[in-house]
Amino acid sequence: MNNQKNKTGKKAPFLETLIESFIRLCGISSIIFVFGIFFFVFKEGAGFLFGGLDIWEFLTSEEWYPTSLNNKRYGTFALILGTFSVTALAMLIAVPFGLGAAIFVSEFCSPKLRETFKIVIELLAAIPSVVWGFIGLTVMNQLIIAVFNAPIGLTMLNGGIMLALMSVPIIVSIAEDALKAVPDSYREAAEALGATRWQVIYRVLLPAAKNGLLAAVLLGAARSIGETMAVLMATGHSVNIPSGPLSWIRTLTATIAAELGEVAQGDEHYQVLFIIGILLFTITFVVNLIADLVIKGIRQS
């Protein structure tokens, strides 16, 4: 035993340090990338952000006229509302479905059915967002016109359903992991006390898995906020203050995607699109921060 250790012991330090430094590099690089991206986005937008842009107007005006010839106006209020409303609607649909599916898969399923479900859910997660957008533009558009008697189906509801379908797989797989992580002894103890299956889930499992479930929901929400292609195609892409699920909207991400490709580099409009990028960065940062604080709060209490 000792001999063996010595034999490999000569080589191990070198290999180990090599691997260690490689792993360290991987860890550090993710930080570098985040800062690099932030620096790049900030650099592109900074010139106009500090020189000329009326930030108050940028955040509160709904007038988005970036290509006007004599009166350019950069108000993103409608876009911010669009992003938040469609995300909220998506979460309204996705959270009950996602958590319900996770509970079903982890608690009620037979093992064979569970395997099938997991594969199908993974497959759902693998569908590219442009395909969802395409489905929204064609199938869901028709469906909403038929069901709600709406004049046009490219609405917040359409985008919300698409986003919900995209975030459900994330919510299901993370929530299922969280439920699986609850020790079986909890279940056994509750059942031994005569609790029904529902009572076990409601009173024991859900509170025990709270952090994981919250993380699942927040990651689902983050996916929705950041999603671009599907909302670009399904929501109508219209600068409009939403008045209900059947109004058409435009999101921050879709605006960048639609306009950045055709804008002259270094132009005011180009810089404003990067400032929208900074805004999105800030929004996700705040969401993550709140999530962290909430989870910490839950842990402490």
Partner: protein, 308 residues
Amino acid sequence: MTVDKWIREGYVLVLYIVMLSCCLCFNSCSSNSGTANGSSNAKRAIIKNKGSDTMVNLAQAWAEVYYGVSDTVSVEVSGGGSGTGVAALIKGTVDIANCSRQVKDKEKQQAMENTGKEPIEFIVGYDALAVYVHKENPLDKITIPQLAEIYGEEGNITKWDQLGIANSGCRSDKIIRISRQSNSGTYFYFREALLGKERDFELGSLDLHGSKDVVEVIGRTHCAIGYSGMGYATDHVKMLEVAITSDEPYYAPNLENVIAKTYPIARPLYMYSLGEPTGEAKAYLDWIFSAEGQKIVEELGFVPLESN
């Protein structure tokens, strides 16, 4: 355990087959999208051609036919919008940029600074922007001032009955304006044709991302009105006749009217090369101006140069 595994594998296989067949189906439907003639010809010189979405079908048709004409060149076409083409031209990454608007002076300057060459302009055909409505919409004609009131900022036409028609398919009677993303060449041209340089479009239109999408959505929407190249017409939509004012005659967007310059919303289509074109690029442009090249312009619903 093994049975489980087998079932699992079987499942994945079936799903892949389904997806694959979907892919094949998609492929056959859209076989002329993407890059044309990009594959399997390492020996051929490549002309890179990029830009306007309005012109992408035309550019692809040219590239495909030219592949048979020349055995030394293959043309790679991609879309993305006029601005994308110009941006690529400024970076010097394309040989020819397609543009449904004129390149701005500022962009010309940038190209000069970046590459040392000036973009040279060629008009390769004309495009009429048709005003589309759903095929069951009773409206047949419209004037430019009416369009200006529908699309323009603080315009006062918002309902179909203000145009003197009963659009029974549209229950709310509200006009749904279909437009394009605010920096597409088509958007710029249409705005200028309707409102001149002073006025903007009213917000709240559906700003779609391609010429084809506009027609597609109008074909499904009774309340909608929109604009797109006349080559994009389908069986589900109707093109309106347009007059400059209500006192003038109305003209349908067709070949004769555009050639006679009576149809009011028509514009030239441009190609730009960096510096005077030479060699293969020059041969390609010359061929585009030839009778054969111009015939393709007409076949795709655009208006050729020659008859002008």
